[in-house]
């Protein structure tokens, strides 16, 4: 199957004139379609380095643009605009504004690892997708995606107690994303569970939601992880120049 590529010519840049004559030459109609010239003047030369500084993006420089990632991609099959090869190209070229056109779908990578599996250059495209969605959020181009919020809710619980309890993660996720827990399909699912479960087990599951499972003696691990997370966050803020941005904004105020 050929790889679908988004046309580099945007529809708004195409011009057709019903009646137009230039220097005595008739250039009317479809056969004389004009393409408005496109000048990229807002390169972000640091873009590749910024992505490479975020977890998962480390190996972006290895890419040869073979397109195996896009060709194998699960999400690309559902939405042809989801194009990891193209985004890696844009990042390496520093074409930030072009990348931002797709900012609202990049987080949709489902981490099926098909791209990493086939990549001949060990770019880890899946990691680059994660790094890119982090970058979009850190730079304020997009709000936190539901995926990121889920990762945070999940990780917070792991860092705090060593383990997660899935019912609790689900509840907190719905709360933090402002969604009602009582979705029609969720009610249907719970009904399915109630049909067969003995009362004792239900009570135990209910208790697990109230009393979080814990790894014993986790305190030192928790402190070590939190210290590491803080260091890494400071490093990333610096790599993306976020502190400078904030200072510049403060000076303006």
């Amino acid at each position: 199957m050929p790889i679908h590529e988004k046309s580099l010519i945007r529809p708004e840049n195409l011009e057709v004139h019903e009646h137009l004559e230039i220097e005595g030459v008739d250039v009317s109609g479809h056969w004389s379609t004009f393409i408005e010239s496109r000048v990229v003047s807002d390169y972000n030369e640091a873009l590749e380095d910024e992505i490479a500084a975020l977890p998962g993006g480390e190996h972006i420089h290895r890419c040869w643009q073979c397109g195996s990632c896009t060709n194998s991609c699960t999400v690309n099959e559902l939405n042809p605009d989801f194009n990891p090869r193209y985004w890696i190209y844009l990042i390496r070229m520093g074409m930030e504004s072009e990348l931002l056109r797709d900012k609202d779908i990049i987080w949709q990578c489902v981490s099926c690892h098909k791209c990493t599996h086939v990549c001949p250059r060990d770019v880890v495209p899946e990691g680059v997708m994660k790094a890119t969605s982090h970058w979009l959020e850190l730079k304020g181009h997009t709000p936190k995606s539901h995926s990121m919020i889920f990762d945070e809710v999940f990780s917070e619980q792991v860092f705090a107690t060593g383990k997660i309890e899935d019912g609790r993660v689900i509840k907190r996720f719905f709360k933090r994303t402002g969604q009602a827990l009582h979705q029609p399909w969720m009610v249907e699912m719970v009904k399915g569970m109630l049909r067969n479960l003995p009362l004792g087990l239900l009570t135990r599951m209910g208790l697990a939601t109230l009393v979080a499972p814990k790894t014993r003696g986790w305190g030192d691990a928790r402190a070590a992880i939190e210290e590491y997370v803080e260091e890494q966050e400071a490093y990333r803020r610096k790599a993306l120049g976020l502190d400078d941005l904030v200072q510049a904004a403060q000076r303006e105020i």
């Binding site: 977890p55 998962g56 699960t74 999400v75 559902l78 949709q108 489902v110 981490s111 099926c112 690892h113 098909k114 990493t116 599996h117 060990d122 990691g127 995606s145 539901h146 995926s147 990121m148 919020i149 889920f150 990762d151 945070e152 999940f154 990780s155 792991v158 060593g162 383990k163 997660i164 309890e165 899935d166 019912g167 689900i170 996720f173 719905f174 994303t177 029609p184 399909w185 249907e188 699912m189 399915g192 569970m193 067969n196 479960l197 003995p198 087990l201 599951m205 697990a208 499972p213 790894t215 014993r216 003696g217 986790w218 030192d220 691990a221 402190a223 070590a224 992880i225 590491y228 997370v229």
Partner: protein
Amino acid sequence: MSDKQTKTSKQKYAEVAYYPGCALEGSGHAYNRSTKALGKALGLKLKEVDNWNCCGAMEVKNIDPKLQTYLSSRVMSIAANKMNMDVVMAPCNGCYHNLKRAEWDLENEDKSKEVVGQLSQKAGHETYQAGQVETIHALDWIKDAIGEEGLKERVKNSLKDVKIANYYGCMYTRPRHIFPEKDAGPGTESTSKPHFMDDLLAAAGAENVDFPLKTACCGGAHTLSDSDTSTRLVANILQTAEAAGAEVIATECPTCHSGLEMHQIRAAKTLGIKTHVKIIYFTQLLGMALGLKPRAVGLQENVSDSFAFVKEKGLT
């Protein structure tokens, strides 16, 4: 080390460190129950990893892969250094994948090794060294410790007439570089066309259908954060299994399993796509084939209802 070299995998896997992971204590409890019941029925010993923690899962990996490596390394460190075990068996595809990823990371990335060393020291436990344990999946465990012939001898209720689509998901085979033992010649698992589950269920008498989506993605990563995408991916898997003639989709991962169950309901509600294929863990199917009662393998803990089906097939 000499132990590892002289023991065959049959002996090595007869007693393994068991790492259930978080999902198997919650939504995937049926997989936990059926794995333990199956081990008991086959005379295999499971020693649960003492005071284990989360493997880090995809969620922590997304925040920082090195932290996921550390979390997984702690589990392997306990198995190796505290329990003196040389094999860790993880039935959950996510845990299995993450322990394998951590192993690869520690062997190949100096920076990760350094971070894991520092965190382990501060957390007050021995640092895991690459190669101390071998991580295997529940499929490897049954396949190597018992084998097809061994299973055939023990089958009480044959799975004959049960048409199965074997669904392996993403994490069991991808990416290939973290599974050096796969694609390693005859008898080893294939990353493009995995067959261990097919082999085991066929040995128990099942009829495996030709299912092209064995390693397709169910969208498990975004099952709640991008439900519409997951529902479309799952609906495709369910419909393809039915088109291939399957009555059951056999699963080997709690995230895939609950994803299939949840989005089977959701596909009917939101897309009007109704499917009737049953979703059952391979450990539940093998357990029932060995004569265990449906309740003993936790069929009541599945969200989807398969009781009438297994009764009709004479598995009770």
